[in-house]
């Protein structure tokens, strides 16, 4: 786990991630400016660090209702505004980016942040970026797989090693030197995975850690992907004990479950309406307060129970909450962070700490 800068003796890592969506607050019908939204994201990251959260991630979506297309630039600002919190893409749509540029940018971010930068590479669940940036959707699979291989090769190379590369979607590299290099020579690079096990299996065979999104429905449905990932790791010759798993979920906490549900629903519905073209069915939302449902909504106690239930299922090392979906205003985001930091995180960490030292003695 050290390769991925994860210390299991500390318990499950807890962080936030944002897609940088830029939607009207459904309660007021008003939308803040792009400038304000971007600056607030930096402020949220800063506030998260002050509250003691472990990580802050930011995604890119190149289309309407989104504002963090240049997520690495904003992460640069966050690097300067913070000192301890890990900073990550969530995700980098690698298929429409040049892996060399991505590596250069995140290596730079790692130096600026004194070794806190990470990449989560994904294909993107929205396809706007492909047309905008001139990529053909018919290469959706292969663009990503090849570029991820290239990125992993750059990362696995030792700092002064020269790179040779040839592939379908990038000009060949002949004894190329990639500069700058990250602080300790390598970056944690994760693969972003949706619900079905296909992508999880690919992550396993590649031997990369997996960030699994569990948007809603019974959490146990995602166990198929987790088990398939670990099995593929083993088949690929990797040790599942050394490969972290992160899960992500839409998240809203308030003093009581009833209040959390009342406050979250309008935002969740608005967000789904904007990105999917259809709202969130109330009947389905009503069921999500059940501990076994993956959607993280409830009182601090309910969220703790959900997380510990999921930890039993998945044994994940990191959880990332998406708390700003659908136009949630800054004051409510801060309230969420306060409850996470004061009530949820300490308990979850207490029960997910692994006694790493003891295990070593036994060995």
């Amino acid at each position: 786990m050290e390769k991925y800068r994860i210390n299991e003796a500390e318990g499950m890592e807890f962080g936030l991630y944002s897609l940088g969506d830029h939607m009207a607050n459904p309660l007021t019908g008003k939308r803040i400016s792009q400038q304000q939204r971007i600056n607030e994201i930096v402020e949220i990251a800063k506030f998260s660090e002050e509250a003691g959260l472990d990580i802050f991630g930011l995604g890119e979506s190149h289309q309407k209702y989104f504002t963090t297309q240049a997520n690495q630039v904003i992460l640069g600002a966050i690097a300067q505004a913070t000192n301890k919190i890990k900073i990550s893409s969530a995700v980098t749509v690698l298929s429409v980016n040049d892996p060399i540029r991505v590596y250069e940018e995140y290596a730079t971010l790692d130096l600026l942040s004194n070794g806190r930068a990470e990449i989560v590479a994904g294909r993107g669940s929205r396809v706007g970026a492909y047309e905008l940036l001139g990529y053909d959707l018919k290469n959706y699979e292969e663009l990503f797989e090849e570029k991820l291989e290239m990125l992993l090769q750059l990362n696995d190379a030792e700092p002064e090693e020269l790179i040779n590369w040839s592939g379908q979607f990038h000009a060949p590299l002949n004894q190329a030197e990639i500069l700058p290099q990250p602080k300790n020579g390598h970056l944690p690079i994760w693969r972003g995975v949706g619900g079905p096990p296909g992508s999880a299996i690919k992550a396993g065979y590649q031997g990369v850690p997996m960030m699994l999104t569990t948007l809603g429905g019974p959490a146990i449905n995602f166990k198929i992907a987790v088990d398939a990932y670990r099995e593929a790791l083993q088949r690929g010759g990797f040790d599942p004990q050394k490969m972290p798993i992160a899960t992500t979920s839409l998240f809203y906490v308030a003093d009581t479950t009833q209040k959390a549900m009342q406050e979250m629903y309008p935002f969740l519905n608005e967000g789904m309406l904007r990105i999917r073209g259809g709202g969130y069915p109330k009947q389905q939302f009503a069921q999500s307060k059940d501990t076994r449902d993956a959607l993280m909504v409830g009182s601090p106690q309910e969220i703790i129970e959900k997380l510990l239930y999921q930890y039993e299922l998945f044994g994940q090392q990191r959880f990332l909450a998406q708390i700003d979906f659908g136009g949630v205003p800054l004051d409510l985001i801060k309230k969420n962070i306060e409850l996470i930091a004061t009530e949820i995180m300490p308990t979850v960490k207490k029960y997910t700490k692994k006694e790493v030292a003891k295990r070593k003695e036994q060995n």
Partner: protein, 188 residues
């Protein structure tokens, strides 16, 4: 109440004839119903390429949005090569998972042979169910011999279409009442 009446094939006129008859009957049955006829022959629909339905260019975007905004779909389809035509399946492929949640779907099927009677049952219904439509339990199956130059010659077809129209409107009202009752129990 908004109803989208889909004519699912560019080829042939029998489906078109029965759907137009159904739309006329619908307006007679309830003049407040807003019916939009979506005839694939009037559109150059591209093949689905995975983008969200609202990201297609006009008029395709409008075609798909009319479906998504409807309370009920009246789907007219012929049977070609023992299945629904690709034009109709392509419409479904351009829409998201659960696209028909909360919508009633009714079917009018035209075919050249009675041997095709169960094709809608076995091939169209599973698609609509997967997309979460509330299906009208019975559909109207019309054979080529029932239609002459665009006119329905068999009164039994007229009666069955009239019953389908009435069931469609009533089912929309019934499911709406059911949803209102469910949602009244929630406080969010």
């Amino acid at each position: 109440m908004k109803i989208a009446a889909i004519i699912g094939s560019r080829l042939g006129n029998n489906t078109r004839a029965v759907v137009h008859f159904a739309v006329t009957e619908m307006k007679k049955y309830d003049p407040t119903v807003e019916v939009s006829i979506l005839d694939v022959a009037d559109y150059e629909l591209p093949f689905s390429d995975g983008r969200a339905f609202f990201e297609y260019e006009q008029p395709v975007k409008g075609f798909l949005e009319t479906i998504m905004e409807a309370d009920a779909l009246l789907i007219g389809t012929p049977i070609f090569q023992a299945s629904i035509p690709g034009t109709l399946k392509n419409i479904f492929d351009m829409l998201p998972v659960n696209a028909f949640e909360g919508k009633v779907a009714s079917m009018i099927v035209t075919a050249g042979s009675p041997k095709h009677y169960l094709i809608a049952e076995q091939q169209l219904k599973p698609i609509l169910s997967y997309m979460k439509a509330n299906l009208a339990p019975t559909y109207v199956f019309v054979e080529e011999k029932d239609i002459v130059r665009g006119a329905i010659m068999n009164p039994d077809v007229e009666f069955r279409v009239q019953r389908l129209v009435e069931d469609t409107v009533l089912l929309v009202e019934a499911y709406q009442a059911m949803r209102e009752k469910k949602e009244a129990a929630y406080d969010f």
